[in-house]
Amino acid sequence: MSYVFYPGCSLDGTAKDFYSSTSAVAAKVGLEMPEMEGWICCGSTAAHNSDPLLADALPAFNLQKAAGKTVAVACASCYSRLKMANHHIASDPVVRQRVAAATGAHYDGATPVLHLLEILGRQMEADVEAAVVRPLSGLKVACYYGCLLSRPPEVTQFDDAEDPTLMDRLLETAGATVVDWPHKTECCGASFSITDPEIILDLSDRILEMARLAGADCIATACPLCELNLDMRQKDIAAKRGHRYDLPVFYFTQLLGIAMGAAPKDLSLGSLFVDPHPLLRSKGLDPDKQPRVAEVTR
């Protein structure tokens, strides 16, 4: 399958670390996905909150640029909007015709869209396994999928809607121990980051608490909104709710990158708010130190 990468606005800014670690992992497993030329914002929550045509037309504008390739996405929010637009456009001729009128080009809603977890976990499992040089032994990870990957299942067709396991299996392949926990798909408050942070504090607090109760050392995410909420907001949750977690929150690509021996600058672990280095050091996984030979030939 040949891919074209749709990064989306977050990966250009607040989630630069997601972009660099994604590229590092892609290089390690031999996944080629050049960035889509001239992509624009998918419209995100703002578009579907206020204007149904815009919510379908902005994604369609981008999906038309794929020219027969599969669109690979890392941001769960973009993924959800692109998939939703495809669903509306493919299933409703009226929408199809309105979108064509708005974008000036006919689009049938058939460009395939896959999340990085689907590509790595379903199509490149063997390559991932082969690229692991430094198993994440002893690291207990709570895999957090959030809302947008698995729901609504008939639209995203990602994995089991209530108990997705794609990320769990990938991180297990990378040698981590994944914890069994019930908040894999609970909502973190997503887009209220700027408009109503109190919602974020309430919801993210519950998720962090459950991860800790389940015995996790850290959380792995696949969404820029989730990562920022769970990571950056821990300070506010400690100050305003009195709950201190100090639980590192990674992008799953950062963890895979560590396991694959990616360069520290590509992993960009310094951009996380809760410093993950003490944890990684305690597990003998300091990315700044080269893996020992014994680890390489496990």
Binding site: K16, C41, D51, F61, R151
Partner: protein
């Protein structure tokens, strides 16, 4: 909405005449509200969601992450839409706190698409000027989409700055921008992309379509179905 008033006769009188001991109840006057129609049909036309399918099992509210903090629970909102109680259905805070997480619709035995219904209610409420006071979401959405129209991509620093200026929330989360900046998460210069004319066209058509839909909804409310 003005109710129809109807008086139900006393019961048990006939049984008592026949020598039975049926319980008696006095005549009662009830107010009957017309159920359904307008608002549910408008929601359906705008979003494809079918509030009328709901049988109030409350499963949606059990899993809703914001139900506990909001002024309404999702199953209650669906009932308000079913019974056409416009004021409460459009003017509540809940629709502005819904995170569109899709937990409710994924679990609903009747596939009532509450997040899509909420999108429609936000849109109708904003149009009719009855949206709940105190929510900053519409201002944020407006600035966000304006940025997309002008630049093609979101530049987070400019977005946050415009939002703070417009809502005068200058001091909220003051520590966040410098912290993100020091983490290299807020580039000062955003990218701009080409094809501006095409973007302008998409936005123009969307505004026109929304206006047409609004006109339509007024003329055909009560009619079921339609396209989103």
């Amino acid at each position: 909405m003005t109710p129809v008033t109807e008086t139900l006769p006393a019961t048990g009188a006939a049984a008592a005449q026949a020598g039975g001991a049926a319980p008696q109840s006095a005549a009662v006057t009830v107010e009957i509200f017309e159920v359904g129609g307008g608002l549910a049909a408008e929601v359906r036309a705008a979003s494809g969601a079918s509030p009328m399918a709901c049988y109030q099992c409350t499963k949606c509210s059990s899993g809703c992450p914001v139900a506990a903090r909001a002024d309404l629970m999702p199953h209650e909102l669906v009932r308000l839409v079913q019974t056409g109680q416009r004021g409460s259905a459009l003017g509540n805070r809940f629709i502005w706190e819904c995170t569109s997480c899709h937990t409710c619709v994924t679990r609903c035995p009747q596939q009532v698409d509450i997040p899509a219904m909420n999108d429609a209610l936000r849109e109708i409420g904003r149009r009719e000027g009855v949206a709940a006071k105190g929510t900053a979401v519409p201002v944020f959405n407006e600035i966000f989409l304006e940025t997309v129209r002008k630049r093609g991509r979101i530049h987070e620093i400019s977005l946050m700055a415009s939002f703070k200026l417009r809502t005068r929330r200058l001091l909220d989360d003051m520590d966040k921008a410098p912290a993100m900046f020091s983490k290299g998460k807020l580039p000062l210069l955003g990218e701009r992309v080409g094809e501006k004319a095409k973007r302008e066209q998409i936005f123009r058509k969307a505004v026109a379509a929304a206006a047409a839909q609004a006109g339509d909804a007024k003329g055909t409310s009560g009619q079921q179905g339609g396209s989103r």
